[in-house]
Amino acid sequence: MRSSNKTSVAIMLPVTLAILGILAWHALAAFHLFPESALPPPMQVARGVGEEIGLGLLDNVVVSLYRVSVGFLLAVGLGVPVGLWLGMNERARLATLPLINFFRSLSPLAWIPFAILWFGLGDRPAVFLIFMAAVFPIILATTAAVAEIPAVRFRVARDYGYSGIQLLTQVTLPAIAPQVITAMRVTAGLSWVVVVAAEMLSGKDGLGFAVWDSRNNLRNDLLVVNMIVIGLIGVAVDRLLVQLARIPSVRWGYEQ
């Protein structure tokens, strides 16, 4: 009973707060403190939803989600193995960590001109930018997680006859899973931020392009529609990835 109570509270509280926020927004717009274009009132934005759907909102959602999925999965698929290797190889780690930190510190948006030069317009530059945003944090988190596995885990594994590839699949991978999942949550959020920015400058479609397009047409009400959709999808993506942290065999990493 208590946990279902807790769940309903966890839904009720943010919904209440959001309604209060919309009311405050409505009040602020009603007083005309700003011109309507600078603060489109909520009702106007609500009416804009239908118009934006007519302009291809759903297609833009699919396009942006596709780019994020490809870039993010490429980053995980490459970042985790590289992190495993660096975690196990101290020399390689010493050699590359400063470089990886260097690239991690570069805003992926700085790559936009090169992304366009190298990949043109469309999916590929956006995928590249998302990859650049996600891969370095994934590598660093995986490397640290591998390097921190207590030595006793491998001793125990050998005591019980595990060897070779089994040490990887039965010790290393389950041992780093909680930290890698946390890194995936963080970088998925980062990727979603980056796709919008990437599409604003290098796109012809996608939610980021729609934001830019609304602005260019002086339709800030439609811009807000896109902003709301972007935010809601970001929350949904995080909710989805939180499910990974609920897998019973990784719970220990969050509860100890």
Binding site: V156, G161, V171, P174, P248, S249, W252, E255
Partner: protein, 261 residues
């Protein structure tokens, strides 16, 4: 090596840099014998276990062992991503028949009183329950030599006393050779057939004490108290003469307390 010996440590030398840990140390452990190794901290007890288990190699001399050996670590030995049942099942990996493996798994869990906890993860168990899972895993399958590195030191006092009792009862059902490294002299005297006291580095065997009474033993039983007193006296911590002119138990208990202070 005689067939009656499970472990034969012959003239072992080991040093780390300038630190000589062992110079010509020898120790024999008979098959089925329970040997406890005590000594001042840093004297090389864990190094000795590492040499016995083969994790570390001596600079000179040799360590002969027979049979399957398993080790229980102070803590962190359980895989946190595996349930209690899955952890214990690690000890049964070479049992090929699935039904037989399950039967023996259930038997081990029953033996440590964790039948209802097979699906619990280690972080959902108390410290005492976790060490019982470790024991079940180590004794599952056919273990000949059990090495224990201060297995109960992370537990609270009463849990520690209970675990000693459970270990004794388990060894009754699944007998094997045991080498227990501990700094807890009471634990050594309550459990071991023979307590080996090591000196400061380079460690040599300073004193040995055999206890003949069956396990599980009461902590306050005459022979255990006498052994504790003798070991403490030998280490120069307790007054050797005191035992003669006062009731033995009182003298020893007080001596232990003074040591703790």
């Amino acid at each position: 090596m005689s067939s009656r010996l499970a472990l034969d440590i012959q003239g072992v030398w080991r040093s780390f840099g300038a630190v000589d840990v062992f110079q010509d140390l020898s120790l024999e452990v008979g098959a089925g014998e329970f040997v406890a190794i005590v000594g001042p901290s840093g004297c090389g007890k864990t190094t000795l276990l590492n040499l016995i288990s083969g994790y570390d190699k001596p600079d000179a001399g040799q360590v002969l062992r027979t049979g399957r050996m398993r080790m229980i670590y102070q803590q962190g030995g359980l895989f946190p991503w595996r349930t209690a049942g899955q952890n214990v099942a690690m000890g049964l990996r070479d049992v090929k028949d699935a039904a037989e493996r399950q039967r023996r798994l259930d038997e081990m869990l029953r033996m440590v009183g964790l039948e209802g906890f097979a699906d619990h993860y280690p972080h959902q168990l108390s410290g005492g329950m976790r060490q019982r899972v470790e024991l079940a895993r180590a004794l599952a399958g056919d273990t000949d030599i059990l090495l224990m590195d201060e297995p109960f030191s992370a537990l609270d006092y009463l849990t520690r006393l209970r675990m000693r009792r459970e270990l004794a009862l388990m060894l009754d059902q699944k007998p094997c050779t045991v080498v227990l490294v501990t700094h807890d002299i009471e634990e050594a005297a309550q459990l071991a057939d023979r307590v080996v006291v090591l000196s400061e580095r380079p460690a040599r065997i300073r004193y040995e004490r055999c206890l003949g009474i069956p396990r599980p033993r009461d902590l306050t039983s005459q022979e255990v108290v006498e052994a504790v007193h003798a070991i403490l006296a030998e280490m120069g911590i307790e007054n050797a003469a005191r035992a003669d002119d006062r009731p033995l138990e009182l003298a020893s208990r007080r001596g232990v307390k003074e040591n703790d202070r």
